[in-house]
Structures are given as C-alpha cells and as structure tokens.
C-alpha cells in the first residue's frame, strides 16, 4: 500500500514536471514540436503507469471498504453502516474519476490532447462511479423508506393504542338497560316534580283555553263587524291570548309527562320515546317562537328542548357502544395486518447486498439468530426423542405368548411346598421390587429387600444403593454375613478358579459375544445348569476411549494359574481400557479342566461368561486348587 502511494506520488510529480516543461517549451519563440511530441509520449507512458498504480490503490481501498466489519446487531444499524460504506465507495470512485481532470490543464492544447487519449479509461471510471452511485442511492432509499415507514408505524401504533383505550372506556360505560331505564325514569319524575307538571288540572286548562278562545273569536268578530278598532277592548283580548298561551303550555306539559311515563322494554324503544319527546319540544319551541318573534335565547323552552336532546344522545350513545366497539376492533385488526406487512417493501441488507454484489450473504447477526434457533430446535428434538424412547419403554409391557398348558408333575409341586412360605413372604414384602428391578427378579437376590426399601420412582441402582446404606444398622451376625457376601463377590479371573454358577447367569458362544452381550443363553433356562465349574480360559477384551466394548480380543490364555491381572499388566493396559471374559469347563480337582470331558459345557464352546457376572462366585481360588493338584504354572 505504502509503495503504491510513493510510486503514485513520484509518477504524479514526474508528469507535472514534464507538463511544465512542455509549457515552457511552448513559450519559447522557436517551438520545437518534435521535442514536445517526445515529451508527450513520455507523459502518456507515465500516465498509463500512474493509472495502473492508482487503479491498484483504488481496488485495495475498495476491497477494504467492501469487507468493512459489520458487527452491529440490528438491521437498522447495519443499513446505516452500509450507507456509510456505500458513500465512502462512491467518494472513492468520484475521486478516481476526477484524477485525469486534475492531472491535465485543459487550457493547454497538448494537455487536452493527452486528456482525450484517456477517454475510454475515463468512461469506464464514470461508469463505475455511476454504478456506485446507484448502490448508494439504493441503500439511501431504503433508509428513507424505513424512516417513512417508521412514522407510519408510529401513527398506526398510536391509533391502535387509542382504539384500545377507547374500547376499554366504552366497555366500562356499557350499562344494562334496566339500570339505565331506571335512571331515566328517575330523571323524568324529577323533571315532572320540579316543573309542577304533576299538579296540572288538564280539564281546567282545557276549559280556560276554550273560554279564552271564545273571547278572542268575539274580539275578531266585533272587529270585522264594526270595522272600528277604537271601540274594541284590547286588554280583554290580550288577557285571553295570554290565557290561551298558558293553557297550551300546561296541556303540552301534560302530554309531555304522559310521553315520559310511557313504559319501554329496551334501548330501541327508549330511543324512540326520547326522539318523539325531542320532536314534541322542538315543535313546541317553534310554535312559541312564531308567536313571539322577539323571544330571547336561551329561554326555558329552548333549554327544555336541549335537556331532552341530551337525554336522547345518552340513549343513542348506549345503543352505539357495541357497534362502535366492533368497528374499533375491526380497525385494530386492519392496523395489525398493516403493521405486519409495513416493512415488506423495504429491502434488508441481505437483499441489498444481493442486488449490489449478486451474492447472497447472510449478515452476521442473522446467522447468529439462525444458529440459536437451530440449536433450540435440535434440543427440542432431543427431548422429543428421549420422551418418545421413555414412552415406548414404558408402554412395552412384556407379553408372554402361551403355547401349552399342562398339569405340573407331583415331584415339582413337592419342591414348591418347601418354598411356599418364602414365596408368600416375597409377594407380601417385595411386590414393589418386582417392578423396581425390571419385573423379573431373583428370589435369592431380593430376599431381604422389602417394599420400604424400594421406591418405585427410583431406578434399581438407587434402590440397591439405599439397601447398602441400610447396613449401618445391621447386627454383628448380619455384618459377618455381609462381609462374607462381599468376599464372595471377588471377581473370578484366574485360570483354575473353581466357581459356582447360579441360574440366570448369561453364557455365550464366544468371548466377543460375551463382551457385546449378543446371542446369549441363560443358565437354568437353556442347556447349562447351575453348578460348580472351573475357569479354563481367560480373554482380555478391548474397550474404546469412551469405555464402550469393541468386541476385539486383546489376549487369550489357557495356562493354569495365570490371572487376568497378570495378562493386563503384560499388555500394559489400564483400568477402563479392558474387560475380562472367562470360559468355564467341568474338569476335575486334579486340574484337568483344560480338556473338558465329553458332554461338559466347554465342548460345545458355548461357555463364555462375563467375569464380573454377579451370579458367579469363587468357591476355591486357583492357587489352592493347583497346590492340591500339584499342577499349574510354576511361579
């Protein structure tokens, strides 16, 4: 980068010097055009070199800007950063475009000539600048559009909130018709009382009006007959007119009260009643105002009209509450829909970049969000799978398909007589253990575990642990028994160990099957019976780095007296890297257990077992056996 700058600087200065030289040569009286032409060629060559260097510098700066770190964490921030980037790129391309203009003074024909020689290059630069300008405009348009949309969003949100508040207020102001009507009736009654309408003698009012009407009629008749106004009693006429007016008012009020007291059953009927009252009062007001053109406003009659109009509006408001709420809710739904798609027209950074660069690159923060979502999705999947597995395990009740039912032999029943009490105690005390230990349990193994010891919601391992913890309160005899049991649990893994194999111990055709627990047979159920046997072979099996069995045999020995420990030591294995499988045979006390007799289990080669099977116990260690027989490996 620095070398470019230095070269650009040097080349620019050199061009400037040559151009100055041309100017000086031109000032001379005898201009040497050949010399000028030569210098022009030099300038052309230098300018091409300068352009090349400048172009490299430009491309480097452009790349730097294009790869600008966009580590901000929102689309809006990124758009602003993108705009800044595009602006910088545009400025860079403008500067480059102006480069030739600043280099040559177009007032000099020689320099103009040179300038024009770079026309194609300049056109290309102009095109590139235009291209960057469009990019800049695209980003700016989006930002402006976002700003515009934000305003719209704000207005819509405000409207939405206002509508919600109005809906809340309206819902609070909804009154049951019975309650509202009772309030109205109270208002009407108060009005009747305050205005003394209840005291109106309607018959007297009618009579007074009729009498006054007669007086007025007489007055007009006399006026018509005499034609002389001077003889007529004006005072009597005026009094009659006043009586008529007062009677009219009383009769109107009486009718009004009748209307007010008319019973209604719902808002619609109440609305109709009040509208009729408003119509009555308006009509009455008009009549009075026609007769009294100079009437002042407001007056009692206009106030009465207003009073009933207000009441009518209250009723109308109640009627309109529900439709208004519905309307507002509908409007809010429209707003929500609008908000949802409001920014759909705006191009995000990813879309912009796709337009500008033609590459679909996800912004960093989008990638992070997607990764997080993916990880959550995977975790959910794991949970679902685990739950499914658990559910299927739970649902998998063992089904026994019955082939045949027959009577038991008396000899068998005789054996069961001896076990009857144990069987009763077992089901009484250990029913829960039947499930906790996987339904199928050994009587001897669970003889001492009671329901209290076994918690159904705990795994069998936890149950066993609890059982072990209970040893704290054991008696001396119990303790001895426990010690004895623990001693017996010593794993048999020396060739020549005499062992007892209980029923239920799994046995296999080969050591690999034994390690991987495939193709198994069960003592007591298949050919092999529970009895005492000898270990006649030992196989050391491999475990992988995760401690999982691989089924690979690392070593096998059939030498009497050799223990698995010694074999492992020879192989340089550590705890967890191996597993011991044993092969058993009948043999005899003289150590003839390697070549087992005919019909002995080892003949069919199906007598491989896991050395640590709990159903296998050492009866006599190999060393003692070998001592007795005098055979075996010399140590």
């Amino acid at each position: 980068m620095n070398s470019y700058l230095w070269e650009i600087d040097t080349l620019t200065k050199a061009i400037e010097k040559y151009l100055n030289l041309i100017r000086k040569l031109k000032e001379k009286p005898d201009v040497n055009y050949k010399q000028i032409d030569n210098i022009q060629w030099k300038v052309l060559d230098l300018t091409l070199k300068l352009n090349e260097k400048y172009d490299k510098k430009y491309r480097e700066e452009l790349e730097k800007l294009e790869n600008m770190d966009m580590s901000l964490n929102s689309e809006q921030d990124l758009l602003h950063q993108e705009l800044f980037k595009r602006e910088a790129i545009l400025e860079l391309s403008r500067k480059r475009e102006r480069f030739f203009e600043s280099l040559f003074d177009l007032n000099f024909p020689e320099e103009k000539e040179l300038y024009e020689l770079f026309d194609d290059i300049r056109k290309q630069q102009t095109y590139e600048r235009t291209f960057h300008e469009l990019d800049f405009k695209l980003v700016k348009e989006q930002i402006d559009l976002v700003a515009e949309k934000r305003k719209e969003e704000h207005a819509l949100n405000e409207e939405l909130q206002n509508n919600l508040e109005t809906i809340k207020k309206l819902e609070e102001s909804i009154m049951e018709f019975q309650k509202f009507n009772a309030e109205m009736n109270e208002i009407f009654e108060r009005y009747i009382k305050i205005n003394g309408i209840y005291k109106i003698d309607v018959v007297a009012a009618w009579m007074n009006k009729n009498t006054a009407m007669e007086t007025v009629i007489s007055y007009y008749e006399e006026k018509r007959l005499t034609g002389n106004e001077q003889n007529i009693d004006d005072a009597q006429y005026k009094n009659a007119m006043r009586v008529i007016e007062e009677s009219n008012e009383l009769l109107f009020n009486y009718d009004l009260a009748q209307k007010m007291r008319k019973p209604v059953n719902n808002y619609e009927e109440l609305d109709k009643k009040l509208k009729e009252i408003v119509e009555m009062t308006t009509k009455r007001e008009k009549e009075v105002s026609l007769r009294n053109p100079n009437m002042q406003y407001p007056n009692n009659i206009s106030r009465r009209r207003m009073f009933f109009m207000n009441l009518a509006q209250r009723v109308e408001k109640q009627i309109n509450i529900k439709p208004t709420i519905e309307k507002l809710k509908k409007r809010n739904q429209e707003i929500e829909k609008k908000l949802e798609i409001l920014f759909d027209d705006v191009k995000g950074l990813r879309e912009i970049n796709k337009i500008i660069t033609g590459k679909d690159v996800k912004p960093k923060f989008v990638e992070e969000i997607e990764l997080e979502e993916e990880s959550n999705k995977n975790n959910d999947n794991v949970t679902i799978v685990e739950e499914k597995e658990l559910a299927s395990k739970k649902d998998e009740d063992e089904v026994l398909e019955v082939k045949q039912v027959e009577k038991a032999k008396p000899s068998l029943l005789e054996k069961l007589k001896e076990k009857k009490s144990a069987l009763i105690n077992f089901i009484k005390n250990n029913a829960a253990a039947i499930i906790a230990t996987g339904v199928l349990v050994s009587l001897s193994a669970l003889g001492s575990i009671s329901d209290k010891d076994v918690q159904l919601d705990k795994p069998a391992a936890a149950v066993v642990q609890q059982s072990e913890q209970k040893n704290e309160s054991l008696s001396a005899n119990d303790l001895l028994a426990v010690i004895e049991e623990l001693e017996q649990k010593e794993i048999a893994q020396t060739i020549g160990d005499r062992i007892s194999v209980n029923n239920g111990v799994k046995y296999y055709t080969n050591a690999a099957a034994a390690q991987l627990d495939t193709e198994n047979y069960v003592t007591g159920r298949n050919g092999l019976q529970a009895d005492k046997y000898f270990i006649n072979r030992i196989a050391i099996m491999e475990k992988d780095t995760l401690g999982k069995p691989t089924g690979k045999i690392l070593a096998v020995s059939s030498t009497p007296g050799v223990s698995a420990k010694e074999l492992v030591k020879t192989l340089g294995l550590k705890e967890g890297q191996y597993e011991v499988m044993i092969h058993i045979g009948t043999g005899d006390k003289y150590g003839n257990y390697i070549e087992a007799p005919i019909n002995a289990p080892s003949i069919d080669d199906r007598c491989w077992m896991k050395a640590d099977d709990p159903g296998i116990k050492i009866v006599t260690p190999a060393l003692e056996m070998l001592k007795e027989s005098g055979k075996g490996m010399t140590r």
């Binding site: 009740d397 063992e398 089904v399 026994l400 398909e401 019955v402 082939k403 045949q404 039912v405 027959e406 009577k407 038991a408 032999k409 008396p410 000899s411 068998l412 029943l413 005789e414 054996k415 069961l416 007589k417 076990k419 009857k420 069987l423 009763i424 077992f426 089901i427 009484k428 029913a431 829960a432 039947i434 499930i435 339904v439 199928l440 349990v441 050994s442 009587l443 001897s444 159904l456 029923n503 239920g504 007591g524 159920r525 298949n526 019976q529």
Partner: protein, 87 residues
C-alpha cells in the same frame, strides 16, 4: 385353553412357568408365576405377576408393571397362594 393353579405354562419361546396363585380383579384374571427350567423339572427362582388377555386366536399373558395394579391384586394372590397345598 384354561389356566389353573399348579399348571405348567409353556410359552412360544419354550420358557416354562408354574402357576402359584390366581385371582380375579376387574373381570381380569391375574396369576402369580414362578419360572422353571426348560425341561420343567427345576425351579428358577424368578417370579412374575401376569394378567390374562383373551384374543380371538388364543391367549396372551401380559406382565404387570404398574405398581398400583400389583398392589390391587397382591393380597388376593397371597390368599390364593396360602390356600395352595401344591397337590
């Protein structure tokens, strides 16, 4: 195929069980079984509580694994076993 106390049941996989006790609960038969060797001569000290499921073409025994269900039938099975003289 009817199952009674002291019957030996042979399964399709040749496993053998002896019926120690039985009870009827919610119209379903429950049995307390003990496993035998393949030849049916020896006891294998493994026990199961099963219930009978009648099907069109035979019968199935389902191992009971619900602790509540076991508790429901346990006492009746004990009573049935107490009455069994293995004769």
């Amino acid at each position: 195929m009817k199952i009674n106390i002291n019957d030996v049941i042979t399964l399709t996989d040749n496993r053998k069980f002896l019926v120690l006790a039985e009870t009827l609960f919610n119209e379903t038969k429950y049995y307390y079984l003990i496993e035998l060797t393949e030849d049916g001569e020896q006891i294998v000290d493994h026990v199961k509580i099963v219930k009978e499921l009648k099907e069109d073409n035979g019968m199935k025994l389902v191992v009971v694994s619900d602790p509540n269900e076991i508790n429901d039938v346990k006492d009746d099975l004990v009573a049935s076993l107490e009455k069994n003289n293995f004769e």
